[in-house]
Symmetry: C2
């Protein structure tokens, strides 16, 4: 094993850059250069204290910076590790196209299995409720809505949490109100019920997760979420569904194809 000095260098006492930033810089550079690779354990706090001749809080400050940047994750009792880049799931913009509506299985399941992953869906909850102001406005101000909540996991890891909202007058006493709406999902049911889908609007934001989202998606620190709100419109121009999705940003890349005309 190379000495820490050859990997991390030393502090520049003449620099006006804060010591903990210099330490973070050294570690970041070492990671960038591949001296530490994904999943590798970084030197322990004690080792860094000894190497740089600073106090432990200073080292922790530096490591905390790297975690905020999403470069490292700490594991209690084990150490601090270079954050592994999980395989990303690519969401194509045509994933809800009619031609892709698979018989029998949900789009998520089909896609995941094709990619060699083990998909799961849990936290299934279907209930009637009063819509939030935002959801209400998007759906044309229904008094009540049907909410379908679920969480998606890949190989045991939560990656996405979604809620679909439908006007209650449209969804009550239909297969859509069942825990399992049947092959092709709720979009297939909507079309069977005469609501031929015309187009979807999607709005995409990125932000840091709330504490509740950190729990639900088991997010490491330094991982943002992608917040996607999709509204489905039928051929009459009525908004028939709003799907509010929060995704672990390190698990997804969204892909859209746009015409140039």
């Amino acid at each position: 094993m190379a000495s820490l000095t050859s990997v991390l260098g030393v502090l520049d006492p003449t620099s006006d850059r804060a010591v903990f930033r210099q330490i973070a810089d050294a570690l970041r550079e070492a990671i960038d250069k591949g001296r530490f690779r994904e999943g590798d354990k970084l030197p322990s706090e004690t080792e860094l204290v000894d190497h740089f001749g600073v106090s432990r809080m200073t080292v922790r400050n530096a490591l905390s910076l790297l975690q905020q940047e999403g470069l490292a994750v700490s594991e209690h009792g084990k150490g601090v590790f270079v954050r592994p880049r999980p395989p990303v799931r690519r969401l194509a913009s045509d994933r809800f196209a009619r031609r892709h509506r698979d018989q029998g299985k949900a789009a998520f399941t089909v896609e995941a299995e094709a990619a060699g992953s083990r998909p799961e869906v849990d936290n299934l909850e279907v209930k009637e409720e009063r819509p939030s102001q935002d959801i209400s406005a998007r759906l044309g101000s229904p008094r009540k809505v049907l909410a379908r909540r679920r969480r998606y996991l890949l190989d045991g890891r939560p990656v996405e949490f979604a809620t679909s909202y439908l006007p209650l007058d449209l969804a009550r006493n239909t297969p859509i109100a069942q825990p399992n709406p049947g092959p092709g999902g709720i979009y297939a049911r909507l079309e069977e019920m005469g609501h031929r889908l015309d187009h979807f609007d999607e709005e995409i934001r990125a932000r840091m997760p709330s504490p509740a989202e950190v729990r639900t998606l088991q997010l490491a620190s330094g991982v943002p979420v992608i917040h996607l709100v999709r509204t489905a419109y039928d051929a009459e121009g009525r908004a028939v569904e709003v799907c509010d999705t929060v995704m672990a940003a390190d698990a997804y890349v969204l892909a859209y194809q746009l015409p140039a005309n």
Copy 2:
């Protein structure tokens, strides 16, 4: 002014939740309930130390949590403030449609002025260079590319940093290689040169910014970036441009419209 106790409550000494998390919870709840509004100054570290009867590091730990969540920003010498939500810019998926190609001004400028903001573009750099592996692959492995870099600001605040790459054989000695490519931008020039644009592919990721990106976009801590890579294809199916854009996530919402068929 209401007492701090009525706004923040007190610690629960029987709880096994870490003290700094309880303090963060109290502040977060007060912010959520509107007791502190956007831009408001939170109690100073000293006030929180006195109120909760803990050490300063514990309070700083709590405040640091809120900053990581993007809820607060600290200003040296002034205090810690509830992070103001800047107005978001909505990017519609048809913003590059041919019909929107404005004569004379860049899309960014037109749109910003319509929204009542003062747009600026700086850091203009146009140079020839060897493409990165990723860019090269997307453009069909050209030996060299023309790179056009610029930064966009709204009302003096940097919001976006973008680089366009074009195969050099296509762009050399054309208006595209000029600092100002003329009305309608490089897409108009490409079409004039016989590359009728057919469609765009866009890939969207969200992640925490690198230190360099924090500087360029003057990002507060707790603000992720949206990384958008757009590839433009002409009617022959050739990739004629790749635009790599890094946006301050708190300044943007991306909107796409998708057909359902």
